[in-house]
């Protein structure tokens, strides 16, 4: 395996900035977030994980789909230009795996062109988690703190620098010019996480759809959108117009199934009028609907952002445990 010293790594990133826009975790007023950097000094080298997942770099909170303007009375549609080569540096394997899950949905026919355009320009250089901590649970849901799925390059911090593992051709290309040295050492193994099993959950979810358990689980929910907006695999959006005189811009913005109006149709009928129904939608989408559509993969990567940030401590791990008891009872 190859290794790169921390100094060489910084030099490599600095030279990358000529060709690529480099996004990395930074500390913004006490919050770790992915932002474009102009110097490697801005990188939060000691971060655990970002508050907002790096999905926001490929699937922005708000993006323009097109503008429509009238030229001599003739309507003209223009799409925004997306042409910036970008390296996302330092994302965690769970978030990279989540991006692979977004790919499955957005790249599925018909291809979501705005997403695909961005995605094609992005190279993902990940950092393995050497010291993952509970409530993270990637290992219990098909991932690993040093997993490579979705990544182009995986780096693992060792004592003498970073172990570098190119995963894809794109990854090899981005590493060109990096001062890599061969080493016989092996990357450190990540610390163990508490284990629990999600086996058989998807198959049995349909049986418990009407269980009263859901209402109890979600009783404290305040219907905010933290769990969905901070979820690296959530990708619901809203499409809205903005008018300026005769010109119109159509944009899409993140939206969340937790909002009361999410599924309400004009005329007032709301198929998911209760917070229990809405939270169930969140859970079922991850653990049943997505897997049914995309080859059995559960759309949760165990990053535990929803667990850490839920204002009222609704703990998805606990829900899974309770469900198993409910199913077996």
């Amino acid at each position: 395996m190859d290794i790169i010293t921390r100094e060489s790594l910084k030099r490599w990133l600095t030279t990358l900035m000529d060709r690529y826009q480099v996004m990395a975790p930074v500390l913004a007023e006490g919050n770790h977030l992915f932002r474009a950097i102009s110097s490697t000094d801005e990188i939060a080298w000691d971060y655990y994980n970002s508050v907002v997942p790096p999905k926001e770099l490929i699937f922005p909170l708000t993006e323009s789909l097109f503008t429509l303007e009238y030229q001599n009375g003739v309507p003209q549609i223009q799409e925004p230009v997306i042409d910036r080569q970008t390296v996302i540096f330092g994302l965690r394997p769970c978030d990279a795996r989540a991006i692979a899950m977004l790919d499955a949905s957005f790249m599925n026919d018909p291809v979501d062109v705005p997403y695909a355009r961005r995605r094609a320009l992005v190279t993902l250089v990940g950092w393995a988690c050497v010291r993952p901590e509970s409530p993270c649970f990637c290992v219990n849901i098909g991932g690993a703190p040093n997993g490579t799925q979705g990544l182009d390059v995986l780096m693992t911090e060792g004592t003498d620098g970073y172990f570098v593992e190119p995963v894809t051709e794109k990854g090899k290309a981005v590493l060109e010019g990096a001062e890599l040295k061969h080493t016989d050492a092996v990357p450190p193994e990540p610390a163990a996480l508490p284990a629990f099993s999600t086996e058989g959950l998807t198959e049995r979810l349909p049986e418990v759809f009407l269980s009263p358990m859901w209402q109890q689980q979600v009783e404290a929910c305040i219907s905010c959108k933290i769990c969905t907006f901070l979820c690296p695999t959530c990708y619901c959006f809203d499409v809205r117009d903005r008018r300026d005189g005769e010109a119109v811009e159509r944009m899409r913005c993140w939206d969340s199934c937790q909002g009361a109006h999410f599924s309400k149709i004009a005329g007032g009928y709301n198929p998911r009028a209760t917070k229990t129904a809405r939270w169930k939608q969140f859970f079922y989408h991850k653990y049943l609907y997505y897997p049914e559509r995309f080859g059995g993969v559960i759309a949760c990567v165990g990053c535990a952002r929803c667990v850490r940030k839920c204002p009222v401590n609704i703990d998805i791990r606990e829900v899974i445990q309770d469900l198993k008891e409910d199913i077996s009872a």
Binding site: V52, C224, K225, L230, C253, G259, V307, P311, N313
Partner: protein
């Protein structure tokens, strides 16, 4: 942390009594969270479940939020001193019925800063500046009365520091913070004083505020939210606690609290009989505006 075991015990006993006598159908309190160290809201409907209720200095949530959700039911609610101010506001605004709401008030030692899996001894800022540790409304009171000590610093110091900054820096300060907002609405939804069934920032027809998650929309949301709480915010600061991206929302709410206190000498929730400042007026007052 201050020893509060006896409070837990008293709450459990009271909950048991209220539920088994049928006086209330629901007790809203706190229970241990899944991390084993912090707290989360608990909903107890059977006397035999009362044992899961707890109280300690991690019980930060303002449970008044749920009193609105369960309005119409006879319920008991565990409320810290500041939470009772919020209950008073809700009574004043006819959102809940006093007679149907059994308030288990707590002489509150203050709550500590905590996050998932982590807690410590450091009091939350709102508790550091608190000078009213006794509940304003209650049917049953637990905890030893707390000796009120005058503060040796200005509770509004942070607001005043920001006020004193040059205009450009204030602009930069707020734009930097609003930029991080993701419009998750946790601040609004955690607030017991925000109970509109349809929020003006989400209203579609008319669509006052667009859906984009961009600084103009965020600014309008935060300003309107703060304004709608002017003279109503009781300073529980749950909005700031739940914000996933650490926006100092207390600096918005406290600015209004400061103005309301200075201009109208009013503090919300202390007495439900006194009218809120924006719901009343004095015909001949001079507010330095209008002429």
């Amino acid at each position: 942390m201050v020893a509060v075991e006896n409070i837990t015990q008293l709450i459990q006993e009271k909950a048991r009594e209220l539920l088994s006598s049928g006086q209330v159908e629901l007790v809203i309190g706190y229970q241990r969270a899944s991390d084993g160290v912090t707290a989360r809201p608990a909903f107890v409907r059977k006397a035999e479940d009362a044992g899961k209720l707890i109280f300690d200095q991690t019980c930060t949530h303002n449970l008044g939020k749920y009193a609105i959700e369960h309005r119409g039911k006879s319920l008991a609610i565990v409320a810290k001193a500041c939470d009772t101010f919020g209950i008073n506001v809700l009574i004043q605004e006819k959102q809940i019925v006093r007679e149907k709401t059994y308030v288990i008030g707590i002489n509150c030692p203050g709550v500590v800063e905590s996050s998932f899996g982590e807690t410590g001894d450091r009091l939350q800022y709102r508790c550091q500046i608190c000078q009213e540790h006794a509940p304003a409304v209650f049917d049953y009171i637990v905890g030893d009365p707390i000796l009120e000590k005058p503060l040796d610093f200005d509770p509004y110091a942070k607001v005043k520091e920001l006020e004193a900054l040059p205009q450009e820096e204030r602009i930069a300060f707020w734009e930097k913070h609003f930029d991080r907002c993701i419009r998750c609405y946790a601040c609004r939804n955690a607030c017991p004083q925000c109970y509109c069934t349809e929020c003006v920032v989400e209203q579609i027809d008319p669509n006052w505020v667009g859906a984009p998650i961009q600084v103009p929309e965020k600014q309008i949301f935060h300003v309107i939210r703060a304004f709608h709480l002017a003279g109503r915010c009781i300073g529980c600061n749950e909005c700031e606690r739940v914000c996933p991206v650490g926006i100092p929302l207390s600096l918005l709410n406290m600015k209004f609290s400061l103005e309301v206190e200075q201009q109208f000498g009013y503090k919300p929730g202390r007495d439900p009989e006194v009218c809120a400042p924006l719901a009343t007026y004095q015909p001949d007052e001079d507010l330095g505006i209008g002429g």
